[in-house]
């Protein structure tokens, strides 16, 4: 009754191709953008930025990247933690080698470096697929973490083996290090997340995305209708790694500030990202945001309820968090294998008729 598409007519193909063809969706999108850009920065504080919003935005970028590879192009990857590490270490090397380089350029260059590394590790996908490819990408995960631990050049021979983000500014505002204001870091990450999501949407609705999806759905048929499998797969690996590299760079520079590679970008990070993509919905940009929100917000919420409301001990609550989140993931996969995006679609379809379904 309230959510409806009646009266929304498209009169040309360009209108039919827009991201939100239904007017109400469009309004909701604009409203969200206005709140996110103009309202939230005035109310944000350190807790909200570091516990909720920054990780949500950064993981959303990484999830979009992984979704491009897994959800759109159908190539399973367990190496995303390693690629995030590439982004982080690339940023560190760039920031320390070129102190005057703008942070925006540092983040984008880190993404590009990760894209090249990702494309190189994507080469096996031309010969192997499915589980075997997953194992090959797993190897890249371990190799990259080992590399950043072993080769001292990457962490500038520091005694601790850690990397620390030096203080940098963007447009006069401190963006990295302990003196950065939460509103500034939030807006920086938000701009990247929104911009990259928009680009991802453009890629996936155009012929680039069709090539990826053709390879995903049936690679032999795709080749026979004129898709070059080499180009499609490697471009998916490169683009996906770019996103993951940007996320890794932001995570290190803006969010964490100091990183020890095995701890921050280990195999658990790869699985976390894969969970986000699967729970959010494969092949959906909205799903990437939803999955990131779920995996970031839910533990925070759970902790607040268990520790704050029920007064449990912190360590018991932390263990129960694993149990509950893990259980929910399993239930999720059984009840709705297509993820939160599919649930959202069903809700919208129901809403079209509600409350008069006949």
């Amino acid at each position: 009754m309230f959510y409806r598409e009646a009266g929304d007519f498209t009169t040309n193909y360009a209108e039919d191709n827009q991201t939100f063809p239904i007017r109400l969706d469009r309004m909701g999108y604009y409203a969200t953008m206005i709140v996110a850009f103009c309202v939230v920065p005035f109310f944000i504080n350190d807790y909200w930025a570091s516990a909720v919003l920054l990780p949500f935005l950064i993981y959303a970028i990484a999830a979009i990247g992984l979704n491009i590879l897994v959800g759109y192009c159908g190539q399973v990857s367990l190496g995303s933690g390693g690629f995030m590490a590439v982004g982080a270490y690339a940023s560190y090397k760039l920031m320390t080698s070129f102190p005057d380089m703008s942070m925006i350029i540092v983040v984008l260059l880190s993404g590009l470096i990760t894209a090249m590394v990702g494309a190189a590790f994507g080469l096996p996908s031309l010969r192997i697929k499915g589980f075997y490819l997953a194992v090959a990408t797993l190897a890249s995960q371990f190799f990259l973490v080992w590399l950043f631990n072993k080769v001292a050049w990457f962490y500038n021979y520091s005694a601790s083996g850690q990397i620390n983000a030096p203080e940098r500014t963007v447009l006069g505002f401190v963006i990295t290090g302990p003196n950065a204001a939460p509103a500034v870091t939030y807006l920086f990450c938000l701009a990247f997340a929104v911009g990259l999501a928009w680009l991802a949407r453009n890629m996936t609705r155009s012929n680039t995305g069709r090539r990826w999806m053709a390879i995903r759905d049936m690679d032999i048929a795709a080749e026979i209708i004129g898709v070059n499998p080499l180009g499609a797969k490697l471009s998916a690996f490169a683009v996906s790694s770019f996103y993951i590299g940007v996320a890794g760079s932001l995570m290190f520079t803006v969010y964490l500030g100091a990183v020890e590679v095995g701890e921050a970008f280990g195999i658990t990070k790869s699985f976390l990202l894969l969970f986000m993509v699967i729970i959010g919905g494969l092949g959906s940009i909205f799903g990437s945001f939803a999955g990131a929100a779920f995996m970031v917000l839910f533990p925070v919420l759970l902790k607040n309820v268990l520790v704050g409301q029920l007064g449990w001990a912190t360590n018991i609550a932390a263990h129960f968090e694993f149990v509950i989140v893990g259980g929910l993931i399993v239930i999720f996969l059984i009840m709705e294998p297509h993820g939160l995006a599919a649930i959202w679609r069903v809700v919208k379809e129901k809403l079209r008729l509600w409350p008069f379904p006949h």
């Binding site: 193909y13 453009n202 155009s206 012929n207 053709a214 759905d217 048929a221 080749e223």
Partner: protein
């Protein structure tokens, strides 16, 4: 037969020179000879059928034609030029489209997107314009959409435009697959058993579409089919294969009168 450059069909269409020529094709899988020294040609504007009993090597022949298999011996000429060992997607770019015996649609996409995929070989825009969408990519999308909508109208599948193809019944899926092949505006269209598993009505529909494609777009068609009635009705010339060898080639009437063909289909009396 038909050694001259052009000939006229009984219904008055003029058939041009060869689009694709297969010369002494031999294809082996290890010790198994799938195709043995076969030569024939497909001429511009004709409907050429390849028939034969199961395992005769018809699908292998089609796979050779669109570059999925590379024959050990023999040459393929396309538009008069000898074709090198190209990958299937390069052959698609040259203008060969095909459908499959077991439907090979992209199950995760809608009917519209599947047919839009057929336009990929005509895509002129690059990754960077896709990234920005506004401008070239959007214009190309709309132009492609217009062509695709014509095909959708032609195949009478307007109502399932935005339905995921996985949900469609078999007959419609076959039609969408034909649409995807047509969207490439091929100079040679290969159909691998377009009527397999269909009832009489669906077969009639499909026959009509094939004839209309040939008639309206002037597309050259090579098809594999088991239903002899259909083949005899719609094909201009027929190649008959058995055990990897060519046992007959000619108009439907000539082929039907061929003793080898009758033996292959009905069996030979051993006395």
């Amino acid at each position: 037969m038909n050694t001259m450059e052009t000939y006229t069909t009984p219904d008055g269409r003029t058939i041009g020179g060869p689009v694709m020529e297969m010369k002494n094709i031999t294809l082996r899988f290890g010790g198994v000879v799938a195709i043995k020294d076969i030569s024939f040609d497909i001429r511009e504007g004709e409907i050429r059928a390849i028939i034969g009993p199961n395992g005769a090597g018809k699908s292998s022949m089609l796979n050779v034609m669109n570059g999925f298999y590379h024959p050990q011996e023999g040459e393929v000429f396309f538009h008069g030029k000898k074709r090198g060992p190209l990958r299937p997607y390069q052959i698609a770019e040259q203008g060969v489209a095909r459908t499959f015996q077991n439907i090979a649609l992209f199950k995760g996409m809608s009917t519209l997107d599947n047919i839009m995929c057929g336009r990929l070989t005509h895509s002129k825009t690059r990754f960077l314009s896709h990234l920005l969408w506004k401008g070239k990519a959007e214009a190309e999308e709309s132009a492609n959409r217009e062509k695709v909508e014509k095909i959708i109208d032609f195949l009478e599948i307007q109502t399932i435009r935005k339905t995921p193809v996985g949900r469609l019944p078999y007959g419609l899926q076959k039609r969408v697959e034909l649409g995807r092949a047509l969207a490439a505006e091929p100079s040679l269209l290969l159909l691998d058993e377009p009527m397999a598993g269909m009832n009489v009505e669906e077969k009639e529909d499909m026959s009509r579409f094939i004839l209309d494609v040939n008639d309206e777009f002037g597309t050259t068609i090579a098809l594999i089919e088991h239903d002899m009635g259909v083949v005899m009705d719609i094909a201009d010339r027929v190649v008959v294969m058995d055990y990897g060898k060519k046992i007959g080639d000619g108009t439907p009437a000539e082929v039907l009168a061929n003793q080898d063909v009758i033996d292959a289909y009905l069996g030979v009396a051993h006395d």
